[in-house]
Amino acid sequence: MKENDIYSELSSIRNLMERSTKFISLSGLSGIMAGIYALIGAWIAYKLVYTEDSGLLYRNVYVNDPLVWWPLFLVAAVVLILSLVTGIWLTIRQAKKKGENFWNPVSKRLLLSMIIPLIIGGLLILIFIFRGYYGIISSSCLIFYGLALISGSQFTFSDVKWLGFCEVILGLLAALLPGYGLFFWVIGFGVLHIFYGSIMHFKYNQ
């Protein structure tokens, strides 16, 4: 056995262990797109809640007003669905480009580990909405999304964990500073996603 053979043997073992335990076809581009959708959504939400009057910006309605509440909910739902569809589509495309099957044991584990905190968080938020605690929405969305990322990160790039921690910290800050929910949404779902997506894109796609 030649020395080079041993090295290539060891590197193939390492590569397989990594590829069989981590899903690496996540696309950085989908993070950027999700961020852009979130920013557009936040801008629409801002227009719904704040009105410009004689140069002064002020809140002319409150979020618990049903007339504002439903359009806001719709905007958030559209942003979420668009982000998911784009993310799934870009991930499948990326996996195909790498000659990988996107539906493999690792992607299943990744999905499962993320879905549990997301569903529990989603249910909790819906319960709070029905009970009229609107102030909790922004921070809980960020916190549970961050927890989902942290729990999913063991099955993909470890960078995802840092994004998760940032989202959780933002969520806690949002809980500390009521009334700035939209601001933290813009940072957490918009700016952070674009920032993180760009890093991922340049780090792994090149």
Partner: protein, 100 residues
């Protein structure tokens, strides 16, 4: 540079068997089709190597059905994990030897 192959596990002489073992050591279990996709090998090829590893009692085979489709899960046995570790150590030693 030729070196002795004495410390090496005969079962891992074949590259695909070693690759199968590395996947099974890194994961609790893995199914046949996913292994096939991951290693990029044919059905028959993979099946024969899995048979060989099973005969050595390095892997545990668990046959179930999902609907009507057979779904065979493979897992590394303790014996298999130990053998794999020993094989890696042997490779490592070889590299060390060659450095001096």
């Amino acid at each position: 540079m030729k070196v002795s192959l004495e410390q090496f596990d005969k079962a891992f002489e074949n590259r695909i068997r070693l690759q199968v073992m590395s996947v099974l050591v890194a994961n609790d279990n893995y199914d046949f089709n996913s292994l096939k996709d991951l290693l990029n090998v044919t059905d028959g090829n993979l099946a024969s190597h899995l048979k060989a590893l099973e005969k050595e009692e390095y892997i545990i085979v668990n046959k179930t059905f999902v609907g009507r489709k057979p779904n065979t899960q493979y897992a590394a046995s303790q014996k298999g994990v130990d053998a794999f570790k020993k094989h890696l150590e042997a490779l490592e030693n070889l590299i060390k030897q060659q450095k001096y």
